[in-house]
Symmetry: C2
Subunit: 502 residues, 2 copies
């Protein structure tokens, strides 16, 4: 039995930065996509003078230097590029309010930017929108250890916030690959999911309060700092996942769970997807309250990952793999639970093989196999990334059916993802971008996913790239209600135009 | 050491029903409260004929019999009484849509009613609103064990739903004293909190999808059945906690956690509130993932409860009491964790005494001491019930300060509640209702709670009784946004008038 006996695996050093650097330079979005600029005013000298009056004239908070602007104009994936002429860096809600109110009165479009780590190009300008960078709004305002919460400005980097909470034995109930760059305001604005949603839930469950600046500069104070509040309509929730199109989040109050004392990861090999589902059920029954992640990969995804990352499976080749993570308050108890679960899963022939570890460096190594999987895809050519949610028993039906449907028109179809959350990442790769293939795949997936009451954009939002989904995946009544809300909150449509709404 | 040694406690038999029956009969709300009827039409024969055409003419689904109507016109607390002439009992979304669309066109006000168990008189008519009872919309539509969710109509009784899920090893992530009567749609519409929010979170974190009928009869299909969805604005969340004023919830998709295999309750005596807070922190550190409730009571509340319920503390008298419940997947592990926690809390002099049990009947007995506490209050005379949230370290400062402030103008001030959620139930009792006292207490509490970013209505909503809070506890910008939303969704204000909005 391999359990508890962690095999040597040949890991190479890597850093988060290395995942992010590729050399291509995108063309301007307006050239790549046939899209027309909205009827906004162009930035002029008097506008800049007003911004400098508010933020100072030393070049640190009103950025117009071309070489500095590029960083804010291009997205994480280097897929899109805007042509903004100015980045503003407010430090206070009052400054945000003055800027936005002025932009609204002068019909200047505004693109709010957090860490600029999004997958859907929601945080970079499409044309020449004024970029409102939240990076200097990074103050922690209060930590309440007894109640288990924190209040902070929205521009604080997720990892920085988490490190400060760690000193108090608390944590941010959210963990992302991009945690070193992404900001809590962006996490809220995109309702970020991440690796441990199965344990801590989504932002709607974790955000206690928000302060939001509306398009007209009005400050909406919904900054309650309590877990229960029913003293009015739940308007703060409307801004969660609104991707900067309804208002600008300036402060966040967040519940903070206790930081677990111990973590274990099991990496398992399985014969078929039916056994994956059986193991999932057993895992929930046996490990329930200590589960913090349940990830799935198939053989093709893992093999491709192995080839491109020099990481390898510690247990050899199997049709399916599960990575199960537990976090808890008692190491012995967690170990005993995992051992019990793995033994019964082996004895019941649910799993064929597996390793498990509680050693932090080895936990990290096992996670790397899963987390670095997508790295291999992007060097092949074009990657169609689909971020789907559906009933978990349908995951690999959809993958297999798409493979059959596409036959040779795509080079590979990869399926892997957050099984515990019902979130499948499906990647279709080809040597070259093919518009017709893209349309085909989207139609195929919508026809499958929508009747299952699933989601075509689970954790990456719509942003610029998927804005066409809005009317396609929502009922016409829902879509019209969304556009009514946009009109109500931002009648001049200055907030993050060309995003979410097509 | 008393740990593990459960003392005999003199419990008398009781049932949930007995908590609910008191003999007073309320006067009509329109007489008790000086309130004017809105400009709605009065119910007439042609209206009834239309309803009968949709729901049938056998008297089962269009109720006009005076003796049957009373049950629907009076609230749980028998504080208020409406004068509706008709109760409608749809079975399908289509029927709800037809009824509401007709009422909207004919300016008939509508009061949607679930289990009618609310504390704020939000679910009974104030005048002659048409009552839309959801009790026949009680079908379960789908249970997905692999994904861990359920889809049902909104009128199913919480306990019935939970019992059916129990057969699959799952549960509703919500537990209330009223579970035998309240309906899941009402729970969502009021964002119900309950006893185990500390573990499972609020409805925003647990509701996966909703189907809602708008005031104009349009059906909003937001019935996603997945845990992650960012494919549009999060409009479903707007209906959570909207208390029937924005739309009628007809279907609910809910995440369902694994049902715990084991449960323990510890009942502890403590010297002062500082020790309560120390114990709270220690409990979170040691028990973290298995905590399912943390309740607090002070000596006055418990003594009063003892006198009126014939239940008694199993550990004698102490200034403060904590009731801590754990739920988990492994009995031995949970027992060991609790023992460890209690021993270190005793050795550290955080707690003075305590009992702990894992036996279901004794767990129930210990809970009864906490749950039946409020029974004693209501026979004394007038009860002012305040449902507050605030930082946990302020709980008994507020109670003590109010006691000092009121001196002899109230007979008693009781403080107890859900410490783990930061939710204090504060009851002020006097022999007779005193308008000036009520105003005084409200002002005192608002002055304390609002600067702390707390809540004046944590889990009981605003309904009819607390509707005046809406402009008082929300900023004017938030209040105006709420009224804008009401106008957008229900321009004729036919949905649950006189509730939430003053």
């Amino acid at each position: 039995m391999l359990l508890k006996q962690f095999l040597r695996i040949g890991l190479v050093g890597f850093s988060k930065k290395s995942c992010r650097s590729f050399t291509k330079q995108p063309d301007f979005t307006k050239n790549t996509y046939q899209i027309e600029r909205g009827f906004y005013n162009y930035l002029q000298e008097p506008h800049l003078n007003y911004f400098k009056k508010i933020l100072g004239d030393d070049g640190n908070r009103v950025i117009t230097d071309e070489s500095l602007l590029e960083h804010y104009n291009i997205d994480w994936f280097k897929n899109v590029k805007g042509s903004s002429k100015v980045v503003l860096k407010p430090k206070t809600t009052e400054e945000v309010s003055k800027i936005v109110s002025y932009c609204n009165a002068n019909k200047l479009a505004v693109c709010t930017q957090g860490g600029n780590t999004g997958y859907s190009a929601g945080a970079v300008p499409v044309f020449d929108e004024v970029i409102l960078s939240m990076e200097l709004m990074n103050q922690i305002l209060d930590i309440d250890v007894n109640s288990g919460n924190v209040v902070c400005q929205s521009g604080i980097v997720l990892e920085n916030l988490d490190n400060i909470l760690a000193e108090k034995g608390m944590m941010v109930p959210l963990d992302l690959g991009a945690k070193g760059s992404c900001q809590i305001g962006g996490n809220v604005a995109t309702n970020a999911g991440g690796l441990r949603l199965v344990r801590y839930g989504n932002m709607h469950g974790n955000v206690l309060g928000l302060e939001v600046v509306k398009a007209n500069g009005e400050v909406l104070d919904c900054l309650k700092v309590v877990r229960k509040d029913n003293s009015g309509l739940h308007i703060k929730n409307l801004f969660i996942g609104s991707e900067g199109t309804l208002g600008i989040i300036t402060k966040v109050a967040l519940r903070c769970p206790i930081r677990p004392k111990t973590q274990h990861v099991a990496f398992l090999g399985l014969q078929n997807y039916e056994k994956v589902l059986k193991t999932l059920r057993k895992c929930r029954q046996d490990l329930d309250e200590i589960i913090s992640a349940i990830e799935v990969m198939d053989s093709l995804s893992l093999e491709w990952g192995e080839q491109h990352t020099k990481l390898s499976s510690p247990i050899g080749r199997y049709p399916y793999y599960l990575l199960i993570e537990t976090s808890g308050s008692n190491e012995q108890h967690d170990e005993a639970k995992i051992q019990g679960f793995l033994e019964s899963a082996l004895n019941g022939h649910y799993i064929l093989n597996g390793v498990v570890t509680g050693e932090p460096s080895k936990v990290k190594s096992l996670w790397a196999i899963r987390e670095r999987l997508p790295e291999g895809f992007k060097n092949h050519g074009w990657v169609g990334m689909y971020d789907l949610s559906m009933p978990t028993d349908q995951f690999y039906n959809v993958v297999d059916e798409l493979r059959t449907y596409l036959k040779n028109s795509a080079d590979y179809v990869f399926g892997f993802g957050h099984l515990g959350d019902g979130n499948l990442h499906l990647h279709v790769i080809t040597k070259k971008y093919d518009k017709r293939l893209e349309t085909d795949v989207e139609k195929f997936l919508m026809d499958k996913i929508l009747p299952m009451k699933g989601s075509m954009s689970s954790e990456h939002g719509l942003g610029f790239i998927k804005r066409k989904y809005l009317p396609a995946v929502n009922s016409s009544e829902s879509y019209h209600f969304m556009t009514d809300l946009k009109k109500l909150l931002d009648p001049n449509r200055i907030l993050n135009p060309y995003k979410v709404f097509p």
